[in-house]
C-alpha cells in the first residue's frame, strides 16, 4: 500500500496534511485492528474497531505528535510501522478492557499469555542459563503458541534456526533442571514433545 503523506507537516499541526494522513491510513489501521481481534473465536467482540482506530490516532498525536514524529522512514515503511502501532494499541486496549471487566471471554488469544499447559510455569524454569535468543524462541513457541514457521517469519530467520535454537535451549534447561536438587517441581516439565 502506498501512502503519500507529508509527515513533517502533520507533526507541525497542518490540518490539511493531517486530514490526508487520516484518509490514507485509516483503512490500513482498521485492517490491522480487525486481524488482531479476529484471532479469537469471537471476532471483534467486546471491542469496537472504530474505537480502536480512534485510539490509534489519539496515540499518534498525543504529546504534540511524539509517536508520529518518532517514525524513521529509513528503518521501516510507514505502512509496516502503522500496523505495528495499531496492533500494539489494540492489544493494550483488549488488556485494559480485560482488567476492567474481569472477563476473559472477550479477549482474543493474541492478547493473552498462553499459559494453560499443565505443569508448565515459565517462572519456575532456570531461564538464566539461556541466551537472549533461546529465551525468546521458547517464549514465542511455548508461551505464545507460535509455530516454528511463524516464529521464524516473525524474527526474520529460517525455520532451521528456530528449531536448533529451541533444541539447544531445551538441552540447557534440562541440564539445569536435573542438576538442581532444590527445584524438584520443575523436573520433567518441559521437553521436546511439548513443542
Amino acid at each position: 500500500m502506498s501512502i503519500d503523506v507529508n509527515l513533517e507537516r502533520c507533526c507541525r499541526g497542518d490540518a490539511a496534511a493531517w486530514q490526508t494522513f487520516v484518509i490514507q491510513t485509516a483503512p490500513l489501521i482498521a485492517t490491522a485492528i480487525r486481524r488482531v481481534l479476529s484471532r479469537g473465536s469471537a471476532p471483534g467482540r467486546g471491542l469496537d474497531v472504530d474505537d480502536a482506530v480512534q485510539e490509534v490516532f489519539i496515540r499518534l498525536v498525543k504529546d504534540d505528535f511524539r509517536l508520529l514524529a518518532s517514525f524513521d522512514p529509513g528503518r521501516a515503511s510507514l505502512s509496516t510501522w502503522l500496523t505495528i502501532v495499531a496492533r500494539s494499541t489494540t492489544i493494550d486496549l483488549v488488556r485494559r478492557r480485560n482488567l476492567e471487566s474481569g472477563s476473559l471471554d472477550d479477549v482474543p488469544p493474541a492478547a493473552i499469555v498462553i499459559d494453560d499447559r499443565p505443569d508448565l510455569s515459565w517462572d519456575d524454569l532456570p531461564t538464566h542459563v539461556l541466551t537472549d535468543r533461546q529465551r525468546l524462541v521458547l517464549q514465542l513457541t511455548f508461551m505464545h503458541g507460535l509455530t516454528v514457521p511463524v516464529a521464524a517469519e516473525s524474527l526474520g530467520v529460517n525455520e532451521q534456526t528456530i528449531r536448533s535454537t529451541r533444541h539447544k535451549a531445551l538441552e540447557r534447561l534440562r541440564a539445569a533442571v536435573f542438576s538442581d536438587e532444590n527445584s524438584p517441581k520443575t523436573a520433567g516439565r518441559i521437553g521436546p514433545d511439548d513443542a
Binding site: W18, A30, R75, T80, I91, A110, D132, L140, S154
Partner: protein, 167 residues
C-alpha cells in the same frame, strides 16, 4: 521504562515505546542489523507486550494488506484530533484578508473625497470673472420688492441696538 501501560516481564526493560515500535517495524521489514536484532531479541525476552505484538504481526506475514472500510464518523473524529492551537497557524491568511479589506476601504474613501472635491470645485466657478449684473443678481437679485421693507426694518432694529449699546 514505561511502555504506556504495557507490562514488562522484568524491570530490566529500558526501551522507550517509540524505540520499541520502530524496532519491531524494522524487524518486520527486515532492516535490522545484527546488533539491533540482538538488542531487540533481548528486549523481547523481557517484554510481554512486545512479544504479543510480534506474535500478532507474525500471523499475518505474507498476507496482503487490504483496506477495511472505516466509518465516516470515525474519520471525522480522527481528523478533528489536530490540536486547536495548530489551526491558528492559518492566521496569516486571515490577516492578509483583513489588510486587503482595509486597503479597499481606504481607497474608497480617497475616491469619494477626490470626487467630492472635484464636484465642489466644478460647481462654484470662483476663478471665472462674473459680470456686474450677475453679481448683482446673485447677491441682491434674490430679493423682491416685498423683501426690501423687511430688510429696512431689520436695519432699523440693528441701528437702534447699536445706538443703545454704544457709549
Amino acid at each position: 521504562m514505561s511502555h504506556n501501560g504495557h507490562q514488562p516481564d522484568s524491570p530490566e526493560t529500558t526501551w522507550s515505546e517509540t524505540d520499541l515500535l520502530m524496532h519491531l517495524a524494522a524487524l518486520a521489514d527486515g532492516r535490522l542489523d545484527d546488533d539491533a536484532r540482538a538488542a531487540l531479541e533481548r528486549e523481547l525476552g523481557n517484554n510481554q507486550h512486545a512479544r504479543l505484538v510480534l506474535a500478532s504481526a507474525a500471523d499475518d506475514a505474507g498476507v496482503a494488506i487490504d483496506e477495511a472500510p472505516v466509518s465516516l464518523q470515525t474519520m471525522q473524529a480522527a481528523t478533528a484530533l489536530v490540536p486547536a492551537p495548530m489551526r491558528t497557524r492559518r492566521a496569516p491568511d486571515i490577516w492578509t484578508w483583513r489588510i486587503v479589506r482595509a486597503g479597499v476601504a481606504v481607497a474608497a474613501c480617497i475616491a469619494v473625497g477626490v470626487s467630492g472635491y472635484r464636484i465642489g470645485t466644478g460647481s462654484v466657478p470662483v476663478t471665472t470673472p462674473s459680470s456686474d449684473d450677475l453679481v448683482q443678481e446673485m447677491t441682491f437679485g434674490v430679493f423682491g420688492d416685498d423683501d426690501d421693507a423687511l430688510l429696512d426694518s431689520d436695519f432699523a432694529v440693528l441701528a437702534q441696538t447699536m445706538l443703545e449699546v454704544s457709549p
